[in-house]
Symmetry: C2
Subunit: 327 residues, 2 copies
Amino acid sequence: MTTIKDVAKKAGVSVATVSRFLNNSGYVSTEAAQAVTVAVEELKYELNPIARSLNTKKSNLIGLILPDITNPFFPELARAVEDVALTYGYTVVLCNSDEDPEKEKNYIETLKKKYIAGFIVTSNQLDAPHYANANVPIVALDRTINEKIPTVSSNNKEGAIMGTNALLERGCKHILFLRGPEKLNPANDRYEGFMEAIQRSNVRYQVVTCPFHFADSQKIVECILQENPLIDGIFASSDVSAAGALKAAGTAGKHVPDELQIVGFDGVAMGAMLSPGLTTVAQDVYKMGAVATRVLIKRIENKKIEQNFYEVPVKLVIRGTTRSVVE
Amino acid sequence: MTTIKDVAKKAGVSVATVSRFLNNSGYVSTEAAQAVTVAVEELKYELNPIARSLNTKKSNLIGLILPDITNPFFPELARAVEDVALTYGYTVVLCNSDEDPEKEKNYIETLKKKYIAGFIVTSNQLDAPHYANANVPIVALDRTINEKIPTVSSNNKEGAIMGTNALLERGCKHILFLRGPEKLNPANDRYEGFMEAIQRSNVRYQVVTCPFHFADSQKIVECILQENPLIDGIFASSDVSAAGALKAAGTAGKHVPDELQIVGFDGVAMGAMLSPGLTTVAQDVYKMGAVATRVLIKRIENKKIEQNFYEVPVKLVIRGTTRSVVE
DNA sequence: CTGAAAGCGCTTACAG
DNA sequence: CTGAAAGCGCTTACAG
């Protein structure tokens, strides 16, 4: 392994000069710079990041803390984070927290020992004070930890209004809203949006809380459909729930979209694979991840960030679980 | 930050002794050990892994190189890797390669500079010699790099035989096999299995190569179904392709499973969400990841590993795209 | 069984 | 503009 010492010797300067040149810190004469450049080139020298970290107490590792990469929402997020991290020379450490504050804390602690540069955190159970005091740059997704920590999320409320209106415009007269877990911020925002839109109409509706879980959603919807044959529209707070609803419609013998229209939320790839294809309010998950990462890197590099709250717009994707708009 | 020096001072011994004790290397008297234990406890000392790495040229980072975490096959794999890595005190760095050998090399090089402990590699375009010479522990998934590098994969051929037989036993008389990309080892193994099973029967069949891509598969199957109305069974080499086939069956007006039966391969969660639920040859992806990680850690820790090839059994999951067995 | 010392490969005041 | 030197927090021969 060739070290900074080798470079210094070859260039005929001191290691301090080489270091200064490499880090673009302090003055280096043109000749010295030239000599170092040549030496680096010839020796194919590459700086040892570990040795650097030990001094600077910084690394180029970014921790991505999420509940479970297995949840279809997260892979794309992770992908975005990694893509932009790579662009800026950072590497990402994957941390599945299972929403367990202990696991989160553990990760934060172990990674801080490695001088992690910062964290992107997606979680709903997160131990807010712990993060607030972590003393390391953080960006939160979908949940505000405090005013000082930048947050990026979808405009969930807007999206829910769009989704509700989609059903309304298509003639639904009795809408079932599948509300997500009440401790999830985004789920609550979606609920708010639904309520706002539905109450502006004079359409009947009912709300049931339902986990973001396929089989559970299916069961719940099956029951409700049996009790309420009049339901002709379902707005699910997630695509997975919507998939459960669609399956339930099948077993209940309700034709989709003729007798029952369904709208999901998320925009996960699976939606297109269903039959009929799932109409959904699609989040731009990739963009969320990308924005979060850029903001984090700005914080890491002590650059000013314009705002502390970033909202990524959501988009209605019309597929086969809804009919055409009623004029 | 409390350092080993602080501990040494408090315990009244030298840093060398503390280090020896902490690493369980070399002799340490019972008294010294006792004193160090107390000091560590009182100071809440935690070893600095970066400083250690600089000396030992080792870290507890594991690199997970995969084509794209967004592909539904990989999140579960990543999850497994992270779970067992955590158990053994390792942390995982996520690397999306897009099957690009350059990106792979880059990751290997940058992570080696960080003294990465080892790699788990899933890729099909991988630059075999580069890996073979990487001079760092590696475990490969689904592809043999060379005899010295341990490999774990599903028993794809067996699985394909099972899948084919499932269709045969259920009375299919004309089977379409959706073969995967020819440069993918697992896809070829599945093809082999199909051929072996189908040729033992006297059933008609045809094979078409088809990417592991939903919309493409749908299109291809739509065409073929039109040309060959006699096809009454489809065995797809992946669940995504199977989903495409199922969709195609819908647009072609073929009832599944009455007129057309479909079997997929992979066992991805999405399969259960389709209507009807997808019958499939399920891989135990989590197990593959777990096995790979354990083997890697053994290699890292210079423990003997029993074998260089691990095959994880596959399992037939019967759902709604197939009928009951013909007696 | 133990400690002084060198070394891992860098960065950073400091003096010049 | 530059270099000698101390230091980041550990590990590891080596001598005792």
